[in-house]
């Protein structure tokens, strides 16, 4: 079983996951010096989405996202919907792997082939997931303090480059501009639907830690954006590929401490790994529910092959990735995380109403 606190921590780390790599620069490009408000708004939308999912899950206590379609729609149509979630999770994890190898290739390890990162990550992740959901959650609990403190201490050290003038003029933002870029509503908050795979394990109900986790993550992201603007300024932060990394890279404390950005690399790596674990758990659990295999290791083996392939062919270059995230990802995410659950909810209501009439 998972305690509420453990689930709360997992929700936060899941949401932060890849966000520092892929979202910050675009966000700052749009919001300029006021971009830090944006995560709070999208986080609020994330909480609403979370409440919507909880509404669905209230009808199915003790069930996860892969079991609900089977129950609501029956074995065969339900299996198709569950399989859609399988596809969604697979794509997301392929994406994460690719983001990770892009980051490592672009910063500290330019010569290492990307596939090495993918396979190494998959090996460890499959091993962890095979041990069960508790293993994932406990791992997260153990590493969280090791992520939290070094991360913010490093940023505290970075405040030597801080300048308050970078925030002026304060709150001089046309809110309409923000709503013209709905992509940030989709990522990262809608992806939290993956966490519902762990709902049955949470003691005393997952609702409150889940929503609180989304809120905390939104505030953390807002603080992170705030710090990046204070350290780099909106003009530079919006044009760099990895502003979080660059902000720390530029820190030099005296003559001795000049290479603390490796700390940030490792922290981001672990955060990504946690997000990845949750998704791999989702994938394997969906498979488990749909096909009910007797042994699981062949599934993991084929998953490794599949996910490496997805990661490899996800996009050809980061430009495609950026364009996809900006223009299409919101529709893609909404389809899997809002439309399908809404359909499930409707199916449930119809079924309940029908059953009532039968009685």
């Amino acid at each position: 079983m998972i305690s509420r606190f453990q689930f709360y921590l997992l929700t936060i780390n899941f949401i932060i996951g890849t966000t520092p790599f892929v979202m910050l620069q675009g966000l700052i490009a749009i919001g300029k010096q006021d971009a830090w408000i944006w995560p709070l708004l999208t986080g609020g939308a994330g909480v609403l989405a979370g409440m919507f999912w909880l509404l669905l899950f209230r009808h199915y206590p003790g069930k996860n996202l892969a079991q609900i379609p089977l129950e609501a729609m029956g074995r065969f149509p339900g299996a198709i919907v569950s399989f859609l979630f399988f596809v969604y999770f697979c794509n997301l994890s392929g994406w994460i792997l690719r983001n990770l190898s892009d980051f490592l290739n672009g910063t500290i390890m330019p010569a290492t082939p990307a596939i090495v990162f993918h396979i190494m990550f998959l090996l460890v992740a499959c091993y962890t997931v095979a041990q069960g959901a508790e293993c994932v959650v406990r791992l997260n609990q153990i590493v969280t303090p090791l992520l939290f403190f070094p991360f913010w201490i490093v940023f505290l050290l970075a405040t030597v480059n801080w300048n308050w003038e970078r925030f002026e003029p304060v709150l001089h933002l046309n809110p309409v501009v923000l709503f013209q870029h709905p992509a940030f509503f989709g990522f990262p908050f809608l992806e939290t639907i993956s966490l519902t795979m762990l709902f049955p394990f949470v003691q005393q109900g997952p609702g409150r830690p889940f929503l609180l986790g989304i809120l905390t993550a939104a505030v953390s992201l807002s603080i992170l954006v705030f710090v990046i603007i204070g350290l780099l300024g909106a003009d530079r932060a919006s044009q760099l590929t990895y502003p979080v990394y660059t902000a720390i890279q530029e820190v030099a404390i005296g003559e001795a401490l000049v290479n603390i950005h490796s700390v940030i690399s490792v922290i981001l790596l672990v955060l990504i790994f946690i997000k990845f674990l949750v998704l791999v758990y989702g994938i394997s659990e969906t498979l488990q529910q749909v096909v009910r295999p007797r042994t699981r290791w062949p599934h993991f083996l084929s998953l490794m092959i599949l996910l490496t392939a997805i990661a490899h062919s996800m996009y050809e270059n980061p430009i495609q990735n950026a364009q996809w995230s900006e223009e299409y990802s919101i529709y893609y995410n909404t389809f899997f995380t809002i439309v399908i659950p809404a359909l499930l909810l409707v199916a449930t209501w119809i079924k309940r109403a029908y059953q009532k009439r039968q009685n």
Binding site: G106, M109, M120, G233, V251
Partner: protein, 397 residues
């Protein structure tokens, strides 16, 4: 159970290659550690020249004596190509080790290049995955090559010498400031502000090609370079120069707090006083459609280096404070006039207006019409170890 052990062993073994960071491992002695980078361009040929000054790992405290004397602390590699990207490949025609730029300390740009544009250079530096942009950038007067091939006494690595001098200047004068890094240049240029970078000037041409000769020569100045004056940049282009005197007031108005000693005139007599900025406030307001900028500066004076005249009474102190305040105000106005004349905006008025009144439709015009008032409040706070300078005794009476 045995299967599980075998599987975990296999995973552990698979993780072993990771420990050497795979394909990216580099040994220390395969790296060429760059300490200083110089960029120059040849407009006639349309090529770019980059100088990399690479630290000699054999020099240092445990120097192995080369037959001709001391080993050179650095070696300068010069590479010419059509673009910066090409240099990364071409350099290995000359360089036997992997170029490692993560720890370089100074970037030099020739004046000729600076007058054309440094935007490409800024992009180039910012692009490099390992290179950091938080290092100072200086402009070299005249040709770049001799400066890149000059040994410096005392601090043997030239980049260390420049950095150390900048640090000393920041503390002990108002001739340099901290915000001259490439990141500052980019940020200010993007905000269409101006920035002033220090200028390196060679003293004479009698430089020596041997480190040993520099080390054994008593004349530290021979063939060396000094930091003097500043290059004003606007829109990634050098548009003018400031002399040392103007640099003082520029840095004071920018809010720098170095301790500077300067000769003032008090009651018609020359008095050298140490002064530093305590705090500066800038206020922007609008009066009948015209911006009014008020700058208040609190300045602390000290007579620690005053050998000419030390006030003895409260009245004399007041008098001195007043005259010094007025002198500083006068000099600051002069700088403001110069800045307005040349359209430089050295005082950052446009930037201030843009931050404080972002909705104003035409900041450019507003800045030109701005009324600027500078108020200086100088206070004598500290004294040196002399209460009163020794007078002329007039024959021992």
């Amino acid at each position: 159970m045995t299967l599980r052990h075998a599987a975990s062993l296999l995973i552990l073994l698979a993780a072993v290659p990771l420990l050497s960071s795979c394909w990216d491992k580099t040994e220390m002695n395969q790296l060429a550690l760059v300490s200083m980078v110089g960029v120059d361009s040849d407009p006639d040929k349309g090529t770019i020249k980059v100088y990399y000054q690479i630290i000699n790992p054999l020099s240092g405290s445990s120097t192995i004596k080369a037959p001709g004397g001391e080993q050179a602390p650095v070696y300068t590699y010069e590479m010419e190509a059509k673009s910066f990207g090409e240099i990364r490949s071409q350099i290995y025609k000359k360089l036997p080790r992997k170029l490692f730029i993560a720890h370089y300390k100074v970037l030099l740009v020739s004046e000729q290049t600076a007058r054309q544009s440094i935007r490409d250079y800024a992009n180039f530096i910012e692009m490099q995955p390992n290179g950091r942009s938080s290092i100072p950038m200086l402009v070299v007067e005249g040709p770049l090559e001799p400066v890149m091939k000059t040994f410096t006494p005392l601090e043997k690595v030239p980049s260390d010498s420049i950095r150390a001098r900048l640090d000393q200047l920041i503390q002990n004068s108002l001739l340099s400031e901290r915000n001259i890094r490439i990141t500052d240049v980019i940020e200010r240029m993007q905000q269409s502000r101006s920035i002033v970078l220090p200028i390196l000037t060679r003293i004479d041409d009698a430089r020596s090609a041997k480190s040993g000769e520099v080390a054994s020569n008593i004349d530290a100045e021979q063939g060396s370079f000094i930091i003097s004056g500043g290059a004003v940049f606007q829109n990634y282009r050098m548009t003018g120069r400031l002399n040392d005197e103007q640099m003082i007031w520029y840095h004071l108005l920018a809010g720098d707090k170095g301790l500077h000693v300067r000769l003032f005139e008090v009651e018609g007599k020359p008095v050298s006083l140490e002064f530093h900025l305590d705090q500066i406030k800038r206020k922007a307001s609008w009066q009948s459609g015209r911006p009014v900028i008020r700058i208040f500066m609190d300045i602390e004076l000290s007579t620690a280096y005053t050998s000419e005249y030390i006030p003895k009474s409260r009245n004399e102190v007041d008098k001195m404070e007043q005259e010094v305040s007025q002198a500083i105000e006068r000099e600051c106005y002069k700088l403001y006039e110069l800045s307005r004349e040349r359209e430089w905006d050295l005082l950052g008025i446009k930037y201030l207006l843009r931050r404080k009144t972002p909705d104003h439709p035409n900041i450019e015009d507003a800045e030109k019409n701005a009324k600027v008032s500078i108020q200086v409040n100088a206070r004598l706070k500290k004294m040196g170890s002399l209460q009163k300078p020794y007078d002329e005794t007039g024959g021992g009476s």
